[in-house]
């Protein structure tokens, strides 16, 4: 111990602090002796000295809730000398002993901290911890925790609310699919873009020009491409009825195969399988702008009367929509990509916005599964609308009037929709 430290201890430490320090050190020594006799040899040299500061107390180690059994949470009451105005504590060091081995420093914390998360642990090992409070004059070690291991939880009960909402919406979807299968007519409101499909095909017939159908640039694993092909089925049926030409350049080989099958099915449904030929759908390239150049070329040369731009689009959306607009085609577009919607809205005659594209496939196909899903999702939207209405009203009234009932209602609403 240095002369400076000795002076510091005699001049500042009162009898109560001294008593606490001695008792904590006594407890710490006892605990060390009981838990692991070899540890005392490996404790940092500073902590062996009589410290001029108090150690942290009530060091607790807990399992981190709802994880894969890889984390422990340490918490403690900071040293009584950890006062910002005094500034005696300069920081804390966290030590870990794995399976009774050597102590290992795992964390350097600033003064005022009272917790630490130890991550990347194994469920098979036992861990003990102690915290060393540091000051310019020395250090003080806490008692050591009992051996503990992280545990894995199979169910995250912190997400019970999420489970309940998912259960309600999932239940509603199953219920509505069942209803549709039993023959109950499920109402879906009119969607302007879809009402225009027949009109657009009729226009192509009158003008004697082809219809161009672009299903986006993504593959069959994208739900937007699937939705586009469902609409294509309906378009193909009408094309066969009106005896109009359809052109469909695609940028994915799988989409080409699926589109050919869809159009063939549409022609068969219309009773005109002989009118179908594979050349209606052709593969161009996977390259984004190579594909765009090819499609723009088709638009400029063949001047289609109607252009469908349905599916997943990226930077090419405005290039395609502008070219279609410049050749005077009636354009029906639809995508679920929010960044591309503004371009379609600006350059096309009708736009299926986001979920309308998916609703369209249910609307047109009338399939029980698609209709049931759509109705089930509407239940989810209904829940969200009710929650927003009740939540905003209760939050505003709770703040304006201070009614306890409103505050309680607000807490319930916030708890119900909290996401962890």
């Amino acid at each position: 111990m240095t002369k400076h430290q000795r002076k510091d201890r005699h001049s500042r430490v009162g009898p109560a602090t001294l008593l606490i320090t001695v008792s904590v050190f006594f407890t710490a020594s006892l605990s060390l002796a009981q838990s692991e006799p070899t540890v005392s040899d490996s404790v940092p040299v500073d902590s062996q000295a009589v410290a001029s500061i108090a150690p942290v107390t009530s060091l607790i180690v807990e399992d981190f809730k709802y994880d894969d059994g890889e984390k422990l949470l340490l918490s403690w009451i900071p040293s009584i000398d950890d006062v910002p105005e005094v500034g005696r504590i300069t920081g804390y060091e966290v030590y870990r002993i794995t399976d009774g081995g050597e102590p290992e420093k795992i964390g350097d914390l600033v003064a005022g901290k009272n917790s630490y998360e130890d991550d990347g642990l194994s469920r098979e090992s036992q861990y003990q911890y102690y915290v060393v409070a540091l000051s310019d004059g020395g250090s003080a070690m806490s008692v050591m925790t009992a051996p503990s291991s992280p545990e894995r939880e199979w169910i995250n009960f912190g997400r019970t609310n999420l489970f309940l909402v998912a259960l309600i919406i999932g239940g509603a979807i199953i219920f509505f699919i069942g209803s549709a299968r039993r023959g109950k007519k499920l109402f879906v409101r009119k969607i302007a873009g879809l009402e225009a499909v027949d009109e657009a095909i009729g226009r192509a017939t009158e003008m004697g020009r082809p219809i161009l159908f672009i299903p986006g640039i993504r593959d069959m694993d994208d739900v937007q491409t699937l939705a586009a092909l469902t609409i294509l089925g309906r378009v193909a049926e009408q094309v066969a009825n009106y005896d109009v030409q359809i052109r469909m350049p695609v940028s994915r080989s799988l989409v080409m195969t699926a589109a050919r099958e869809t159009i063939k099915a549409g022609f068969q449904t219309a009773g005109r399988p002989d009118a179908y030929n594979d050349d209606m759908v052709n593969y161009v390239t996977d390259e984004q702008f190579g594909y765009v150049a090819a499609v723009d070329g088709v638009m400029v040369r063949e001047k289609p009367a109607t252009v469908f731009l349905l599916g997943a689009f990226f930077a090419e959306s405005l290039i395609l929509a502008e070219t279609g607009n410049s050749v005077g085609a009636i354009q029906i577009a639809g995508t679920a990509r929010p960044a591309q919607l503004p371009f379609f809205v600006a350059a096309c005659d009708f736009t299926l916005i986001g979920e309308e594209l998916f609703a369209a496939s249910a609307y047109l196909s009338g399939e029980p599964k698609a209709l049931g899903s759509l109705k089930g999702q509407d239940v989810g939207k209904g829940i969200a609308m009710a929650a927003i209405l009740i939540g905003v009203a209760s939050a505003t009234l709770a703040e304006l009037t201070g009614w306890g009932a409103m505050t309680s209602l607000l807490e319930i609403m916030k708890g119900l929709f909290s996401s962890q």
Binding site: R159, N161, L162, V165, A166, L186, F187, V188, R189, K190, I191, P338, A339, L341, P342, F343, V345, A346, I353, G354, E355, E356, A359, L374, K375, D378, G380, K381, G382, A384, M385, A387, I388, L389, G391, V392, A395, T396, A398, E399, L400, G402, L410, M413, K414, F417, S418, S419
Partner: protein, 155 residues
């Protein structure tokens, strides 16, 4: 766990035997179900729960603690905060009404849906303008480089 993957992979290969090819649907349904389950949580959490939670807020003011005295008192929000809160609450609600497909857009419901589409169109307009401006900025940057740094025509 490796055995699970190996078994599912083997079942997929049964597609090559026409008589028992239907078994290959089991691993497919397992994969689709698991993927849907994993995505469901993320989508629910971010697209629904979080959005609803963030929309639930007082519109006009809140009881706040005075930092000097520690006493709480009602503090009215500034006008721009009130407008912002109303826009968020009304816009989200009306947008949801627009995308509700189970009811005809008539009467009060239709009027709210109309408000929703106005919000959407204003958002699209802002997004369009922002994109055009960013492209213009890129163009100006290139022109500046070509005629300034490269050709030295702009000082």
């Amino acid at each position: 766990m490796l055995w699970v993957g190996a078994t599912l992979g083997f079942l997929m290969l049964l597609r090559l035997i026409p008589k028992i090819g239907w078994i290959s649907r089991w691993p497919l349904s397992f994969i689709v179900g698991c993927t849907a389950g994993l995505y469901l949580i993320n989508y629910f959490s971010s697209n629904m729960m979080r959005q609803v939670q963030d929309t639930i807020m007082p519109l006009f003011g809140a009881w706040l603690a005075d930092p000097t005295t520690g006493q709480t008192a009602f503090s009215a929000f500034p006008a721009y905060d009130v407008v912002g809160n109303v826009v968020v609450a009304v816009g989200t609600f009306a947008g949801l009404v627009y995308f509700f497909f189970s009811k005809e857009h008539k009467g009060a419901f239709g009027a709210t849906a109309r408000v929703g589409i106005f919000f959407l169109m204003i958002t699209f307009g802002a997004s369009f303008g922002y994109t055009v401006m960013s492209r213009m900025s890129l163009l100006i940057g290139r022109i500046d480089f070509l005629f300034g740094d490269w050709l030295g025509m702009i000082r």
